[in-house]
């Protein structure tokens, strides 16, 4: 491999690393390692001067390997690979030691944390010796996009792409467009009509020839890789089995939305037993029909709105569903304008009014004479049927937190603000498109802050409430972001495929075909004439299952070779 010249760069990350790990000790130990020609530490290696330092050393000292001891490679591997490339070094000749997320942030003992950082750095130096220059491949980018779900996020993403001239397949499970937004009357905080918001989208959609809408349809299978997916969609058209169509797409946007929490799971609110306890969606239905009334057909004199049903609870969902507080305030406005004589009471835990215009909305709602009663997170109100002598249908007992008193309020209609939860088929969708879901079933983004609409699978994007509860503006923003990301990829024309994939050494392959079966992507083909297997690089996703399984040791996992991993093991244990 010629004369090795390794450069080691230890990042202080401000004080993030340096307050626990001694960067100078790491640098000094690294400088003593064989073939290390330069070792430096710096405040922020990822900053421009930090990167310039690496580039300059590559050029002036002739470095042919670079080790950066800093944050997680999931954070900045791309950055330092790019710096190597800028310096004229193949980006795969760079390795990182994770001394922040997996060291300084999780340990308090300076001595032991420094010793660990030294070990991780030594392992990276050991490993980088065995790293080889790799070249990626290029493939065509298909300009069509598959959008799953035709709620506000899916519709918006589809339109954005179609308006830019790109073909879109919009696949919707139900028989109509609009998703959950189609079930809503007015929207908070500006009291715009949801119907108007949707009509505007749907008009554009109808006029656009680039969008193929597929109702009553579901994704059945997705294979391939970014730029070159093959999607099979099944459509229920009254016949069994559903009619299946397969088409070619370059990217996929998952915008499958949420479902509302099932209020009957909360037994103490009597939903399903007390006829005038209804969910927020049932109330939206009432608002849309223009008649706010009890089951017996009377206008309610007392309306109570109970917040956080299924949300922010130990028993059901721990998270906040984000839209219910403002929706509840909207109800107060709508009830007061339809029935000015009625009394509205909001029974809440905390009022979450974080969005633009929301705090103002909260203030004006307080001014329309709504009664606000605060209850403790784990001391829920109790609803019971009133006596015939009472002037109301039901009575609600609340341990009111601000006054510290137990309050009883009358109610003729109780609205339960049901939260959002992941759809029951979320895990099935995640499996089909090869993305992950968190413990609550929400899809996981590539990075929660820096890469919120991409996923860990290249070419698969998420938008709207399938990723977590959010309101309309956030869903629309994500949809447009996902569409924007895709358009940027389409504009580039070709896509670059990572240089990391498996390779079969034809001379050592015995032709047993064990790997053919093992590969989840059918990326290994068997040449019957030569009786040998070979990998299709563009289809390989570099999991390395075949590498570990090959009985002849004939498969090499590029960038994760046996030598590289064993050198790392030796490094951490030295």
């Amino acid at each position: 491999m010629g004369q090795l010249k390794i450069g080691v760069y230890v990042c202080n990350c401000g004080t993030n690393i340096a307050h626990i790990v001694d960067p100078d000790a790491v640098r000094e130990t690294a400088a003593q390692l064989p073939d290390v020609v330069i070792a430096r530490s710096y405040r922020y290696m990822c900053s421009n001067p930090g990167q310039e330092m690496i580039i300059k050393d590559i050029q002036e000292l002739g470095l042919n390997r670079v080790v950066v001891s800093a944050c997680s490679p999931r954070m900045h591997e791309r950055t330092f690979r790019a710096a190597c490339k800028a310096g004229g070094l193949n980006p795969y000749l760079c390795d990182m030691a994770n001394i922040r997320e997996q060291c300084s942030w999780v340990h308090a003992d300076r001595l032991m944390a420094t010793e660990k950082a030294v070990g991780l750095t030594r392992a990276a130096v050991n490993r980088v010796r065995w790293q080889e220059p790799l070249d990626g491949l290029t493939a065509e980018m298909c300009a069509s996009t598959l959008v799953l779900g035709a709620g506000i996020a899916g519709l918006t993403a589809a339109l954005e792409l179609a308006l830019a001239g790109h073909p879109v397949y919009l696949v919707e499970k139900t028989d109509r467009l609009g998703g959950n937004l189609a079930r809503v009357d007015l929207t908070a905080p500006y009291l715009d009509s949801a119907r108007d918001l949707l009509t505007e989208r749907l008009e554009h959609l109808r006029e656009n020839p680039n969008i193929k809408v597929m109702l009553n349809s579901e994704l059945k299978n997705l294979s391939g890789f970014i730029g070159n997916f093959s999607a099979t969609v099944g459509t229920h058209n009254g016949h069994e089995p559903p009619e299946e169509k397969t088409f070619h797409v370059g990217n996929v946007i998952v915008a499958t939305g949420y479902r509302e929490f099932d209020a009957s799971r909360v037994t103490h609110y009597g939903y399903g037993k007390l006829p005038d306890v209804i969910t927020s969606f049932e109330f939206e239905q009432m608002l849309r029909s223009g008649r706010i009334q009890t089951k017996s057909g009377r206008a309610p004199q007392y309306v109570a709105i109970i917040h956080c049903v299924g949300s922010r609870s130990r028993e059901f969902h721990g998270y906040c569903s984000r839209v219910c507080c403002m929706t509840a305030l909207k109800y107060a406005h709508e009830i007061k304008s339809a029935l000015p004589e009625s009394h509205v009471c909001d029974v809440y835990i905390d009022m979450h009014a974080f969005g633009k215009g929301c705090e103002d909305f909260y203030r004006t709602s307080s001014e329309v004479k709504t009664l606000f009663l605060m209850y403790g997170k784990n001391e829920h109100p109790v609803i019971r049927k009133a006596d015939p002598k009472d002037d109301c249908g039901m009575l609600i007992e609340v341990d009111e937190k601000l006054s510290g008193e137990r309050v009883e309020i009358p109610a003729d209609l109780v609205i339960l603000m049901v939260g959002m939860e992941a759809r029951p088929d979320a895990l099935e969708v995640a499996r089909l498109v090869n993305i992950s879901a968190d413990k609550d079933g929400w899809f996981i983004e590539s990075h929660p802050k820096l890469d919120p609409v991409a996923t860990t699978t290249d070419g698969i994007y998420i938008a709207g409430t399938c990723a977590a509860p959010k309101d309309i503006p956030d869903s629309v923003a994500q949809a447009r972001a996902a569409a924007g990301r895709i358009m940027a990829r389409i504009a580039k024309g070709k896509i670059e495929i990572d240089g990391v994939f498996a390779e079969v050494d034809g001379d050592r392959c015995s032709g047993c075909r064990m790997c053919n079966e093992l590969c989840p992507y059918s990326a290994i083909e068997f040449d019957a004439d030569k009786r040998r297997s070979h990998v299709i690089p563009a289809a390989c996703k570099a999991c390395g299952a075949c590498v570990a399984a090959c009985p002849s040791g004939a498969i090499k996992g590029r960038h994760f070779t046996d030598q590289q991993i064993c050198a790392q093991i030796e490094g951490v244990l030295a």
Partner: protein, 144 residues
């Protein structure tokens, strides 16, 4: 100085390594005895890596992958799971205690679980005392 066990962790990139990073971003503390090596999938973990780590002086080896049904490569963790009992049997026949080598699942959202797994493993390996394998191999080499 008291005995500090050395533990090598092989973590899959998508779930467990990300989960370990999450423990970091959440500042969840755990013992510093573990040294993590990243692989793309738990299916890449050749049993010889585990043997190699023990031979080179590890007192314990931890293998972490995505939860069953949640593998980034759809079923790599099942492959790793099937391979594991055979490895354990082999190690057992060489006298390697059960607690020294563990395989478990940590998702990308389970920073706390990762910290708990490492804490538990470190205490168990500490209780076992230093592994004899490395020393025995060194003695064996000297005899030859």
């Amino acid at each position: 100085m008291s005995y500090e066990p050395k533990i090598v962790g092989f973590l899959c990139n998508w779930c467990s390594y990300t989960g370990a990073d999450l423990a970091g971003t959440s500042r969840i503390q755990y013992p510093p005895n573990i040294r993590i090596i990243r692989v793309m999938c738990s299916a890449r973990i050749d049993p010889t890596f585990v043997v190699d780590a023990l031979a080179k002086g590890a007192d314990g080896v931890l293998i972490c992958g995505c939860h069953p049904g949640d593998c980034h490569y759809s079923e790599g963790n099942y492959k790793a799971m099937r391979r594991f009992p055979l490895l354990k049997k082999l190690l057992q026949s060489y006298g390697v205690e059960d607690d020294r080598v563990r395989q478990t699942w940590v998702s990308a959202s389970e920073g706390q679980r990762f910290a708990d797994v490492v804490t538990d493993m470190t205490e168990r390996v500490r209780a076992l005392g230093p592994s004899r394998i490395h020393a025995a191999l060194l003695a064996d080499q000297r005899e030859r």
